[in-house]
């Protein structure tokens, strides 16, 4: 049986509107008013949806995505190899970077032979979709569970986060390593 587009109802609440003359009872509106009053009074006794904020805090979703962080490995080296896949996958085109070759004597700083000398995320464009995290082959970029997404600023330039704000602090990496061992 083929169903035409007119008879499909996605919500199951489809109602045919008609312009037929109302009967006398309907025109008095009294019954409709009492129906409405009944609906509102039912809501009066319902459980309230409010979360009393400072005392109660809404639970975070398990897939919550906060601010970005560029990870370091257990030896404190940056994971990022500046492959550019995150920038490519970003639907908002928020990520830019500049790659550089690792010099001699920098092995303790960068894990791979190539690294990102500049890595910037424009936080005004970012939509926190997490596609950069999924695209990354080196486990370098992560969206943390930080409650603050972007702190308020006065200038637009301040919303472009560079490596200074994105890379995981060294102390944190060391603490992580300690926890592992």
């Amino acid at each position: 049986m083929s169903t035409s587009i007119q008879s499909i109802s996605l919500s199951g609440k489809k109602k045919q509107v008609s312009n037929k003359e109302m009967t006398f009872l309907e025109r008095m509106y009294l019954i409709a008013i009492f129906k409405g009053l009944w609906i509102t009074i039912k809501h009066f006794f319902k459980k309230k949806a409010t979360i009393h904020y400072p005392e109660q805090v809404r639970e975070f979703s398990p897939v919550y995505r906060g601010q970005h962080m560029l990870k370091r490995d257990e030896q404190g080296r940056e994971n990022c190899t500046a492959c550019g896949l995150c920038a490519l996958s970003c639907p908002a085109e928020a990520i830019t970077m500049k790659a550089e070759e690792r010099k001699k004597g920098e092995e303790h700083l960068y894990r791979e032979e190539k690294y990102a000398s500049i890595y910037e995320i424009n936080m005004l464009r970012c939509i926190f979709c997490g596609l950069c995290e999924e695209a990354c082959p080196k486990d370098a970029i992560y969206l943390t569970i930080s409650k603050e997404l972007v702190p308020a600023q006065y200038n637009r330039e301040d919303f472009i986060f560079g490596k200074d704000k994105l890379v995981m602090p060294l102390e944190m990496a060391m603490a992580n390593t300690k926890k592992l061992n």
């Binding site: 008013i33 409405g36 009053l37 609906i39 509102t40 009074i41 809501h43 009066f44 319902k46 459980k47 309230k48 949806a49 409010t50 009393h52």
Partner: protein
């Protein structure tokens, strides 16, 4: 007149005044609370337990706000508008019987400021004066939107006053008196007027909504769509007075509805209570019964407000002139026939 009588009446009047103000104050709180509960929220709950100090905070805020004045030549009338609105809202409570009587120190205290035999006429006179506060305020604002709001509000109130008066006439034909005290006494023992005059009650209720400018008849203000209506130009406590007058009006009309149609201070088993527990306790319960009734009607006003959408202006006028007035005239005729047939 002995001085004790004057002192007694003065105390009583001050008490009524205070109660009216407190009720109006807490109606603002109740409005927000009821609105919240009907919409699955909790409403104000920070200032005091359950937000009970919220009206005080609101009042202090209004007093502390900066006072703006429009560039108007009628500065005096600009002041007079809210004053008239407030005083007419408070004047009506003079003739309402809050209870039967109390016996204190061997004196019989009648729980009514004054018992004139034209109490209902007095109420209508004061209600019809309430329009002046709106019109003068709207005109003195020197703003065409305020003027339009004032004209809308005034024409609405004038139109619904007619239907209100006509709906009351049927009731008065039955009771045969204009004194609210006597009407209350006649309803003793569950002979509430609402059982005999349901149509009159319905018309009166609708007109009370229109007279207090509340939803579904709040076209004068249209808080959610238009700017404030006649009090657009008002700020600080002057605007507070207009809003406060609306709540005082609501309190008074809820009281009048309960006195006229729902037995006033009478409650089931009143004579039994007076016989067994004494006059004082029986009548104090009566006062509480009246307050329970009027609190229900205040709640009903709010319940309707958060249920029914606003009328269009032509619908409003149609309802007033083409439906309610003929209906109340028909009600008068039916009442007349019934009185002739059964008495």
């Amino acid at each position: 007149m002995d001085s004790a009588f004057i002192i007694e009446k003065s105390i009583f009047i001050v008490v009524i005044f205070a109660v009216t103000m407190v009720m109006a104050m807490y109606s603002t709180w109740a409005e927000r609370k009821v609105a919240a509960y009907l919409q699955d929220r909790v409403g104000p709950n920070r200032a005091g337990w359950g937000g009970l100090l919220q009206p005080l905070a609101d009042g202090m805020k209004l007093f502390a706000k900066e006072e703006f004045e429009p560039n108007t030549k009628n500065r005096f009338l600009f002041f007079v508008g809210p004053a008239v609105a407030m005083s007419t809202a408070l004047m009506t409570s003079a003739v309402i019987p809050w209870g039967d009587r109390l016996e204190i120190f061997g004196r019989t205290v009648i729980l009514q400021a004054t018992d004139t035999d034209s109490a209902i006429l007095y109420i209508f006179a004061v209600v019809s004066l309430g329009v002046y506060g709106i019109m003068i305020g709207g005109w003195a604002s020197n703003n065409k939107f305020s003027l339009m709001g004032a004209v809308r509000a005034a024409s609405q109130m004038v139109s619904y006053e007619i239907a209100m008066g006509l709906s009351i006439i049927a009731l008065l034909m039955m009771t045969g008196t204009l004194s609210l005290k006597e009407i209350s006494v006649q309803q003793h023992g569950m002979h509430w007027n609402v059982f005999y005059q349901p149509l009159s009650f319905l018309i009166f209720l609708i007109c009370a909504f229109a007279e207090t400018n509340r939803t579904p008849f709040d076209l004068a203000e249209c808080e959610s769509e238009l700017i404030g209506g006649y009090h657009t130009e008002y700020s600080s406590m002057k605007m507070g007075f207009y809003l406060f007058a609306e709540y005082a009006n609501m309190f008074i009309s809820a009281t009048i509805i309960s006195v006229l149609f729902f037995g006033g201070y009478n409650y089931p088993g009143m004579s039994w209570a007076i016989e067994n527990w004494g006059v004082n306790i029986g009548n104090v319960i009566g006062i509480f019964a009246l307050f329970a009734k009027l609190c229900f009607f205040i709640f009903f006003f709010m319940w309707i407000r958060w249920t029914i959408p606003r009328f269009r202006y032509d619908q409003l006028m149609n309802l007033g002139w083409r439906i309610l007035i003929p209906l109340s005239i028909v009600n008068i005729i039916i009442t007349g026939i019934c009185i002739l047939a059964f008495k």
